[in-house]
């Protein structure tokens, strides 16, 4: 009997012990470690605190757009290193090879439960999805296309801010994208922003904050200034929930927090509420 108890204890102990061969995901919100395999099964959502972890652009498109409906726009834009900034060109090449992306945003046309929409998806693996010329230009073109073709825009944002390596030109992308949003707005079309982890800096201070409706995923980081910058300014530790989606909802900068499982149906309902009805499958002419 004692032997059995000993066995159970040993088993449990060993069960809790992380196996170094199993790659783990450590939740940046609650610190819980979950095997990456398990995280993938859970749709990259922390089982303990519901933090919605980052997705690649391809993953995001796959769970948002109708199957095979996504057609990419402006896929071949590449950064041209305007400042000849030390190490930048190499970094871009390396990331292009690693991610298979040309830069940090993917834009295109798709249908969501039948409603045609322009889709913008940022991918934080590419230099924390900072906004340089390519990101700014692609987003601008996406809004211009939507304005001309009377289409809504759904933008999944994620960004560390302006791309420092492109200097002042990256700052100007904030004005350029905001101008394009304004143009789309004047064309009377719907723009839904979905803030995902992390949306900060110059992207928060431009097109990400300009949606007619602003959604956010649970527990994601949303803010203007970086946490460490603020802590450095005020010389005190900030509460853990500072700048999370829930904080932004409380302060009036987010309309709704929507779980990933509900995102596609929520988007579809919102699109249809604004008159973007599902089109017949066969395109006319």
């Amino acid at each position: 009997m004692l032997e059995d108890l000993f066995k159970t204890v040993t088993k449990r102990f060993n069960g809790d012990e992380p196996d170094p061969a199993v790659p783990m995901f450590k939740c940046p919100r609650c610190g819980t470690s979950t095997p990456q395999q398990k995280m993938a099964e859970l749709g990259k959502i922390c089982p303990n605190c519901e933090y919605h972890a980052r997705l690649t652009a391809a993953e995001r498109i796959a769970i948002t757009a109708d199957t095979d409906s996504f057609k990419e726009l402006d896929a071949n834009l590449c950064s041209a290193d305007p400042l000849e900034f030390p190490g930048y060109a190499e970094k871009v090449t390396e990331l292009q090879q690693k991610t298979g992306l040309n830069d940090a945003v993917v834009t295109g046309l798709c249908t969501i439960k039948g409603s045609r929409t322009v889709l913008i998806v940022m991918d934080s693996r590419f230099m924390m999805a900072s906004m340089g010329s390519v990101v700014g230009e692609k987003i601008t073109r996406a809004f211009e296309y939507a304005a001309e073709n009377k289409l809504p825009v759904v933008a999944f944002t994620a960004s560390g801010g302006a791309r420092m390596q492109e200097g002042i030109i990256s700052l100007m992308q904030m004005a350029k994208t905001s101008a394009a949003v304004q143009k789309h707005n004047e064309a009377g079309q719907l723009y839904i922003t979905v803030l995902t982890d992390p949306t900060t800096g110059g992207v928060t201070a431009s097109f990400a904050s300009l949606g007619d409706i602003i959604l956010a995923e649970p527990k994601v980081l949303i803010g203007f200034a970086g946490r460490r910058v603020i802590e450095g300014t005020i010389k005190q530790h900030l509460p853990d929930d500072f700048q999370l989606a829930e904080f932004q909802l409380e302060h009036g900068y987010v309309d709704m927090i929507v779980r990933r499982k509900k995102m596609r149906s929520t988007l579809s309902h919102l699109l249809k509420l604004h008159g973007y009805t599902a089109e017949p499958l066969k395109e006319e002419c």
Partner: protein, 273 residues
């Protein structure tokens, strides 16, 4: 004719941080007449980092918006070292909408290390406030001219920088991140800011090269820095000329050109595979 400015970016950085550098409070009485300061965003309060008001430029009514540097500790306390909170940007937006209503041209003076980074600024939506100004200024149906007086610090500067014409004082700088910030990200060493200053391309000449600024306003014929009267005279001359030029244009054409001015900024390659 224009002199060539031989100062390095770093030397200019030191010059514009100098406490004797003139601020908007110095220029106001020399450039404008009948100035009345107007306060508050009608929501949260009055931000001392951004000054707004109405006055005359060479007889013409204009709306003036400016980031305010202090010349001593009291002034800097009142103006939060020219680092605006969201209510400052919202005050600016309120006043430029008012300008639009009364067909007054808008003149913005940029002089900030950046938008303030703090708890209240985040709670009150610093990002949203800047974004809103970018979008709204873009469609403002009245001419807008912006001038960088000293520091043009990132989004906090750009929030007053969507305009029909941008001019730089010859020693003014405009950058996406402070040289200190750039150095700490680039080399994990903030003390290398001097080096970063030169890499970042932040001078008035750089802005003209990139097509971001249309003009450089000479600060002095003698090369003496911080020459208040001379700078004020040059500022006024530029503003009178530019405001009258922009005011004569058809407003729809002006808006189209404003859109294009920003639309064309970007450096990338596009291959057709």
């Amino acid at each position: 004719m224009e002199r060539t400015n031989t100062r390095s970016a770093w030397e200019r950085q030191l010059l514009i941080r100098d406490k004797n550098r003139p601020t908007i409070r110095d220029y106001l009485p020399l450039v404008f007449e009948d100035f009345y300061e107007l306060h508050g965003d009608r929501g949260v309060g009055d931000d001392g980092a951004i000054l707004g008001g109405i006055g005359r430029l060479d007889g013409v009514p204009v709306t003036i918006i400016a980031e305010v540097k202090g010349r001593n500790i009291q002034e800097n306390k009142a103006s939060n070292f020219a680092m605006p909170h969201p209510e400052g940007y919202r005050k600016a937006l309120r006043l430029v909408r008012q300008a639009e209503k009364f067909h007054r041209p808008v003149i913005c003076f940029i002089d900030t290390p950046g938008a303030f980074c703090g708890i209240e600024a985040e709670q009150r939506g610093q990002g949203e406030a800047i974004a809103r100004n970018l979008a709204e200024f873009m469609s403002l149906r009245t001419p807008v001219v912006s001038i960088v007086l000293g520091e043009g610090g990132s989004g906090g500067a750009l929030a007053l920088g969507v305009c029909d014409a941008l001019a730089m004082l010859e020693n003014a700088l405009y950058s996406v991140i402070s040289p200190r910030g750039a150095a700490s990200i680039l080399w994990k060493d903030a003390s290398r800011e001097q080096e970063a200053c030169e890499v970042m391309r932040i001078t008035a000449e750089d802005m003209v090269d990139f097509g971001i600024a249309e003009a450089i306003i000479s600060e002095s014929d003698t090369g003496v820095s911080n020459d208040l009267d001379k700078i004020a005279e040059n500022l006024k001359e530029y503003l009178v000329k530019t405001i009258s030029e922009k005011s004569e244009k058809d407003i729809d054409l002006l808006l189209k050109e404003r859109y294009t001015k920003f639309r064309k900024i970007g450096v990338y390659t596009e291959t057709h595979r």
